[in-house]
Symmetry: C2
Subunit: 230 residues, 2 copies
Amino acid sequence: MTKAADAGRRERKSDKTRRRILDAAADLLNRKGFDGTRLSEIATLAELRVPAIYYYFDSREAILEEVVNIGDRLAHENVTRRLAELSPAASALDRICTAFAAHLEMVLMESAYTAAAMRTMGQLPADMRARQLERQRASGRMWRELIQAGVEAGEIDPGLDPRAARMFLLGAVNWASEWWNPERGSLKEILATAQRLIRNALAGPLLASRPATTAPPAAALSPVFTPPAI
Amino acid sequence: MTKAADAGRRERKSDKTRRRILDAAADLLNRKGFDGTRLSEIATLAELRVPAIYYYFDSREAILEEVVNIGDRLAHENVTRRLAELSPAASALDRICTAFAAHLEMVLMESAYTAAAMRTMGQLPADMRARQLERQRASGRMWRELIQAGVEAGEIDPGLDPRAARMFLLGAVNWASEWWNPERGSLKEILATAQRLIRNALAGPLLASRPATTAPPAAALSPVFTPPAI
DNA sequence: GTCTATAGTTTGATAGAC
DNA sequence: GTCTATCAAACTATAGAC
């Protein structure tokens, strides 16, 4: 087996170390914020010394930018994947709930990359933040179009401002990593609650005339999550 | 007029300077997080030099702890005040919506203290965090009881986990300072959207049988907010 | 009350041995 | 690839003049 053929299924030692550094940085970004994430702590968590980090990354900021970049991409990929898995018969509201649940799934999952990307947005240095905004343009458009489709289909409470509703709900899911503890309830349970809450919130009084969905979106999230390769 | 009698209505110069330092720290806590809030930047924003800060505070952490302390207190006071203003005829759901709106009001208002307290919770050093949790015990109980009352009154969708619903919605309002811009819509508008979203979310299918509230909670928030004295 | 000057740490980053 | 040793810069905090 050639090295190239091998690359897909087994990481080289070098890649593993690089990955350990990124994992450590993602974890610290969540707990301490952008400025609180120190190289010395990254090194300790990754089980090596500070200078060894510079073999893999040019600077502290380069590590943190890669974490944020990966986190944004994982979220976007998971949302589009879950949407693609959805039955074509799914309603606009089904699609919206599925998208939020897929986003929440990444925020809460094992790799803290997405949570780190969301939680530290406002703390990034100006140049990093500008590049992140540029990368997030597709995601932003996707979210706006999802909600807009619901409005046009008459599935969303017309008493809501679409932009504010979207941002409030994204805030709800982005903040979840702050309080959710897998020991107090499974991922499946929290995703089900989130979807129910979001469906209620957006449909409002319209919910009565649209009692049950053909395919409960919670089911669309089974089987158990498989983390996408980074 | 004695100094003591004067204290209530007009701040002494010393108090004003102290206040400027706290304002600067609250602002920076929101933008840069706990570790990113530097004494040098606080001093610049407060328009004095770093050593002058030590005339008012024992340490950097003492400033930040006071900001967080004030922020928590302002939120709790505003919520209890808005609830007290509410008609005794208000439903459990009215009370819940009013409470969330009052909390959101503080997160978005001029003084960034509450937003700072909420956003940096997870970044506080262990001892500060422990003291904050101790102070927040009353608020925590209040929120749990508010939701519980709604459940017992049969006004909340039984398909929701009360704790998760509470935390999701608190996250939604705590995160709002990240994206809300007063230039894109008034405070009143955003509070109205938030209340509608929260009412929808919690009532869900029950909303149909409980079409309109006697007194719209948005009205309960007028007249215009007056910031409580710090 | 506020300042200049400065001490003592800690940080991000580099040099160079192995 | 990873280390020890080290540097320049930035940080919190203090001393002491005014």
